[in-house]
Amino acid sequence: MPQVRIPTPLRPHTGGNDTVEAEGATVGAVLGQVGEKYPALRERIFDGAELRRFVNVYVNNEDIRYLDDLDTAVGEKDEVSIIPAVAGG
C-alpha cells in the first residue's frame, strides 16, 4: 500500500504516527482515505475538495502540481508526503 508521510506539526492529528498507510490509485484517493480515518488532519490539509494553498503534496519527492495534481497516479511502493509551509525562524 502507498505510504503517506505525516510532518511533525500534523502528527498530533494522526495519534503521533509519522507514516500512515492508505489504499488508492491516485493521490486524491489516498489522501481521501487518510482524511476519513483522521478528520482533524483532513481539516488541516483540505479546504473543501481542494488542497489548502499553503500545503503541498509530493509523490516520491515530486510536487504533484507539475504532475496531475490530485489525479497523480500512485503505486503500491510510492510515498506521498504532506509538506505544510513552515512559518517560524
Binding site: F54, N61, V86, G88
Partner: protein
C-alpha cells in the same frame, strides 16, 4: 598586543584554500552587498557566517529588542545585551564589528513593510531571509522578483526547517512554492510550538553556504530544490520543485502582480491613541477557526473565545482577536512590537 594582521586576506586563508572558492571567490565576496531581513535566530546565524566569511557590506534589518528567551538560539546576543535593552540590529552590529572590523555593517532598526523594503534591498546583490513570518517573506519575494535579485528563503519550527534558493526567472519563486500564507492561527509559531536552536542554525547555515556560492559566482553548485530537514527524526529531503516554474500560474513571477509590495495584501497596523493598545488588521477572506486557535494556545493563561472573539493574555499583553484576523493587543503603543507579538502568537 593589538590585533594587527599584516595580510588582509590571511583571516580568510582556510576558505581560500577550498578549491571551489579560492582567492577569486574571496575577492567577489569582499565586493558584495547583502541585506539580511530579520536578526533573530536565523538572522544571527546568517550574519555570523557572512561577517566571518568576509562579505564586504552587510545591512541587518530588525524591528525588535533582545529578550531573555532569545538567548537560547540567537547566537550573537548575550545577557548584557538584554540588560542594556538593545535593539537586535544594533547589538548584532556591535558584536560583528568585534569579529570582523574590516567589513561594513549597517544596522537598521525598522519594521520592514511595503513602504521601505525596496530602499532596504535596492543596492544589495542578495537578500537573505532571517524573518519569522510569511508576510515579510512575501514582501521580500515581491521586491526580489521586481528588482530581479536572488534571495534565499528559510523557515523553522520545532525541530523542522525548510530552505530554498530563489533566483527570479531561473527558479520558482516563493509564491510558486507556497501560493498563499497560512491564515492566522492555522500553523504553529515558534512561540506556540517551540523551536530548537540547532534546527535554526542548520537552516541558516544552509542559507549562508548558498549565499557564499551565489556571491562568488558558483551558480552550478546552487541548491535547486526545496530542502527539508527534521533534526528530531533525522529526516533530510530534497523535494523537487524546479518543475513548478512556469507551471504554476504565479501572480508574482509570471504576471508581475506585486500584491504584497503594493500593499493590497498584508496587515495594516495602527496604535490606538490613549489606550496603550495597537490594532493589527490583516486582510483575510476566510474566518479564523477559534477552537483550533484556542487549542494551540492552551499553554497560555486564560484563553477564552466565543463566536465573535478570542481573548488570551501573555507576557503582560492581552490579545483580542476577531474572526477576520484583526487583533487588538493591549499593553503596548509600539506598532513594531505589536506586529511582532501578532506574528508570534497569532501567526500570519
Amino acid at each position: 598586543m593589538p590585533f594587527d594582521p599584516s595580510d588582509p586576506l590571511d583571516r580568510y586563508s582556510r576558505q581560500i584554500r577550498f578549491p571551489f572558492f579560492g582567492e577569486t571567490g574571496q575577492r567577489k565576496l569582499l565586493n558584495s552587498r547583502v541585506t539580511i531581513c530579520g536578526c533573530g535566530a536565523l538572522g544571527t546565524v546568517l550574519a555570523n557566517h557572512l561577517a566571518r566569511a568576509g562579505v564586504g557590506f552587510l545591512r541587518i534589518v530588525d524591528r525588535d529588542f533582545i529578550e531573555t528567551h532569545n538567548l537560547q538560539r540567537q547566537i550573537l546576543f548575550d545577557e548584557n545585551d538584554v540588560a542594556e535593552n538593545l535593539p537586535k540590529a544594533e547589538a548584532a552590529a556591535r558584536k560583528l564589528r568585534q569579529i570582523n572590523s574590516t567589513i561594513t555593517i549597517e544596522p537598521v532598526v525598522t519594521d520592514i513593510d511595503h513602504t521601505n523594503i525596496l530602499d532596504l534591498v535596492a543596492d544589495a546583490d542578495l537578500i537573505l531571509d532571517g524573518t519569522d513570518n510569511f508576510e515579510t517573506r512575501y514582501l521580500i519575494n515581491d521586491a526580489a522578483v521586481k528588482l530581479n535579485k536572488p534571495w534565499i528563503f528559510g523557515g523553522v519550527i520545532g525541530s523542522e526547517g525548510q530552505t530554498m534558493t530563489i533566483r527570479p526567472g531561473s527558479t520558482p519563486c516563493l509564491r510558486c512554492l507556497i501560493e498563499d500564507s497560512p491564515p492566522p492561527g492555522m500553523t504553529p509559531t515558534c512561540e506556540t510550538a517551540g523551536v530548537l536552536g540547532p534546527a535554526v542554525a542548520i537552516i541558516a547555515s544552509f542559507e549562508a553556504v548558498e549565499a557564499i556560492k551565489l556571491l562568488s559566482g558558483a551558480f552550478d553548485a546552487l541548491n535547486k530544490e526545496l530542502i527539508m530537514v527534521d533534526i528530531w527524526d533525522w529526516t533530510f529531503r530534497r523535494l523537487k520543485v524546479a518543475g513548478l516554474l512556469g507551471k504554476v500560474d504565479c501572480p508574482c513571477c509570471k504576471h508581475h502582480k506585486f500584491e504584497w509590495l503594493d500593499g493590497a495584501l498584508g496587515s495594516h497596523t495602527t496604535a490606538l491613541c490613549g489606550r496603550n493598545a495597537v490594532q493589527v488588521a490583516t486582510r483575510r477572506t476566510e474566518p479564523l477557526n477559534f477552537p483550533e486557535m484556542a487549542a494551540r494556545l492552551a499553554s497560555l493563561s486564560d484563553v477564552r473565545h466565543n463566536a465573535y472573539m478570542l481573548r488570551f493574555a501573555t507576557e503582560g499583553h492581552e490579545f483580542t482577536v476577531f474572526p477576520d484576523g484583526r487583533a487588538i493587543i493591549k499593553g503596548t503603543n509600539d506598532i513594531a512590537k505589536a506586529r511582532t507579538l501578532y506574528a508570534q502568537f497569532v501567526g500570519n
